[in-house]
């Protein structure tokens, strides 16, 4: 009996669906589906940010897919989990390339994953818009399909060093996580710090995730005014916590990898008062993002993570480019190359400002922030104090 009644339910549901949505279903069937992929870590220690990127893109697609649907296509998001690992990112990239419906990639979180993966996208000229990759190499390869909506580490490291100077720091100890991103930004920080007269008393890389004792001991003995951690919060936060517990009194500074509520969840009291530079300011810094923040909270029942708004803008720009490319192709599915070319032509007023790409895929002007952590309550991470806000143009391609 039970079986029969559930069957009946299915039949009724199908009938209702058939009555209500016939036009949409027909339109979708007629012209096909356009897919937008996200690639970000959805599992592992950096999942908080990766999930934020996926949800930001999801929200943009849900809210802004109208124009493309009017042209007769269904628009779908396909999220991929790159696990913050280069090999997984590349394997996913190959799957993405194989799925001909995918016309755009929003991602990644980690530069070290984005760089090899984008080599795969390049083979088929698949457009990638990155919400978060700051390593210079991402765009300095001058690929026609790779873009980002955020700033670069060669500037971010300099902003960090200049800020250290503002803090009247005389000696600095630099730690990094040995990734493309972390080591990169740490080196830019170190080089500029030396240039402006800050003594760099140590430069150390580590892949350690739990026991930082042996690294902290020499730092404590050298007692630097400031410790700079080039890396990501899941490693930096326990390091800072253990350093404070061991009695290290230095000031802490880091790049945009610190930017997650997990920084304070893990670091607690130890990270309160520390500064970080970022290319993704808090939502409050973007006047146009207010509605987005409430929509996000309503839909996903949590506050947006940093880089979610950037992912929203990346996806929104992608949708614009696809729309233009579909029109140019006479209403048919455009080629991937055509979409990539349209992305470069955009001038888009997004949540995070007006974005326009230069010839190598950097935003012509990017915003850099210096923020200070104000509370050990993760819910108050969005209230972090803005110390500095700078708009800096992307450097030209070095020949």
């Amino acid at each position: 009996m039970e079986h029969r009644s559930s069957w009946r339910l299915v039949v009724v549901a199908l009938a209702v669906a058939g009555l209500v949505f016939p036009a949409m279903a027909l339109a979708g069937a007629a012209k096909g589906t356009i897919k937008i992929a996200t690639q970000s870590p959805l599992s592992g220690g950096q999942a908080a940010l990766g999930e934020g990127i996926k949800l930001g893109a999801q929200l943009a697609i849900d809210q802004l897919k109208g124009p493309i649907e009017k042209l007769g296509f269904k628009v779908e998001l396909v999220p991929y989990d790159d696990q913050a690992k280069p090999d997984v990112g590349v394997a996913n990239a190959k799957n993405i390339i194989a799925d001909k419906d995918i016309l755009l990639v929003v991602g990644h979180l980690n530069s070290g994953v984005a760089i090899p993966s984008s080599e795969v996208y390049k083979d088929d000229n698949l457009a990638m818009i990155s919400p978060a990759n700051t390593n210079p190499v991402v765009t300095d390869r001058n690929l026609p399909n790779v873009n980002r909506v955020c700033g670069r580490d060669d500037i971010q490291g300099v902003v960090g060093a200049e800020f250290a100077k503002d803090l009247k720091v005389k000696t600095a100890y630099v730690i990094h996580d040995k990734t493309t991103y972390g080591q990169g930004v740490a080196e830019f920080f170190r080089d500029h710090a030396k240039k402006i007269g800050i003594e760099v008393v140590g430069f150390e890389g580590t892949e350690e995730k739990s026991n930082f004792d042996p690294i902290i001991t020499p730092i404590k003995a050298k007692n630097p005014d400031l410790i700079y951690f080039g890396g990501i919060y899941d490693q930096a936060a326990p390091f800072f916590k253990q350093a404070r517990e061991k009695g290290v009194k230095s000031k802490f500074l880091g790049p945009d990898g610190m930017e997650s509520t997990d920084l304070v969840k893990i670091g607690g009291k130890a990270v309160v008062g520390m500064h970080y530079t970022t290319v993704a300011g808090p939502v409050t810094q973007y006047p146009k993002a207010k509605k987005y923040a409430t929509d996000f909270k309503e839909k996903f029942k949590k506050d947006p993570e940093p880089f979610s708004a950037q992912a929203y803008d990346s996806a929104a720009m992608g949708l614009k480019a696809i729309e233009a490319a579909v029109k140019a192709a006479g209403g048919k599915i455009p080629t991937r190359g055509a979409v990539a070319a349209e992305v470069r032509k955009l001038k888009y007023a997004g949540l995070t400002g007006t974005i326009e790409f230069d010839a190598k895929g950097d935003p012509k002007k990017a915003t850099y922030f210096v923020l200070q952590v104000v509370s050990e309550d993760p819910a108050k991470f969005g209230d972090n104090k803005l110390v500095k806000r700078l708009d800096i143009a992307a450097p030209p391609l070095k020949k």
Partner: protein, 323 residues
């Protein structure tokens, strides 16, 4: 090179190394005991270690959630955590043995090894699944207990925290208790008999299966205690935390002579000290050319050297000759 600095940090590095070493020693016991009895490497032991850490953090978070954490004396909480972690990990180890190893006991030696690797993956993802459903979290943080973070200053720059002392004392006590159990009690004698020769032991009226379960229980419990201590000391854990300490502890067991209980302790201490010294000193001694990131290469190079000259480990391998 700054000689004064090198000397100044020496005692602190020694303390760091000892703490790490005791941690490795506790985990290494699980590998070495099982190997001593069954001649098989229980690669799932690193997850049994992590399970203890997770039980500890869940209890702490639960206590904090109900608001009683601050009103309880910290050492009572600590004892509770250790007991719970030991019980959970010990039982888990026994269960794993019953389900994944006992049915394969007659099989060629590689088969239970593969089974162990499978169990290891299974447990990692089971913990991850549970935590993501239960707390929607990947990394969990041990809540800070302020009394445990008090530091005793030996000199201006050298100090030691209460929790570091706790780790050392707890490890020493457990190792001593284990030593008594194995060498001074009837049960210990039975375990040793099973290790020597299972068939003969069973002829003498020893329940072999029960003794093997007991071995897993003790090894697992030591691993669970190490998990809780690891969490208290380093505070951040995730489902994959066990992998690296597990590999290191396994190495420590081999270094000390696998199957040899005092050897596991000694191997753990040697490895911990090597690691701490290479991480702290390498960059200072080489002027930054080789940094702390090479600590494992350095530590393992020394290890290979030791094993070249003492292939049976520092204290000698306990392997019976098979007729």
């Amino acid at each position: 090179m700054d000689t004064a600095l090198l000397i100044a940090i020496f005692p602190q590095v020694l303390i760091d190394g000892l703490i790490l070493g005791f941690m490795y020693a506790l985990i290494a016991l699980g590998y070495t005991m099982v190997y001593g009895v069954l001649e098989f490497i229980n690669f799932a032991h690193s997850e049994i270690f992590v399970a203890g850490a997770f039980i500890g953090v869940e209890i702490l978070l639960g206590l904090r959630g109900t608001g009683v954490l601050d009103s309880l004396p910290p050492f009572l909480v600590l004892a509770l955590l250790l007991l719970a972690g030991m019980a959970a990990s010990g039982l888990l180890a026994v269960t794993v043995e019953r389900i994944a190893y006992r049915p394969l006991r007659g099989a060629p030696r590689l088969i239970p090894l593969i089974s162990a690797i499978g169990v290891s993956f299974f447990l990692q993802d089971a913990i991850r699944l549970f935590e993501s459903v239960w707390r929607n979290a990947f990394n969990l943080v041990y809540p800070t207990m302020d009394q445990l973070n008090i530091r005793f200053h030996l000199t201006e720059t050298i100090d030691i925290s209460v929790k570091s002392l706790v780790v050392m004392v707890a490890a020493l006590l457990m190792l001593w208790a284990l030593h008594l159990l194995v060498n001074r009690t009837k049960v210990g004698k039975a375990i040793r008999a099973v290790a020597e020769d299972q068939a003969t032991a069973s002829l003498m009226g020893i329940n072999v299966n029960r003794m093997i379960s007991l071995t897993f229980l003790i090894g697992g419990a030591m691993g669970g205690a190490a998990g809780v201590l690891f969490g208290i000391q380093y505070s951040l854990i995730n489902p994959y935390t066990g992998f690296i300490p597990g590999i290191k502890a396994f190495t420590a067991a081999v270094l000390g002579g696998i199957g040899n209980i005092p050897g596991a302790m000694m191997g753990g201490l040697v490895l911990g000290l090597l690691e701490a010294f290479s991480a702290s000193y390498m960059s200072l001694l080489t002027g930054g050319a080789f940094g702390a990131e090479y600590k494992d290469i350095f530590a393992f190079s020394i290890l290979i050297l030791i094993l070249i000259f003492r292939p049976k480990g520092l204290l000698g391998e306990v392997v019976r000759e098979r007729a």
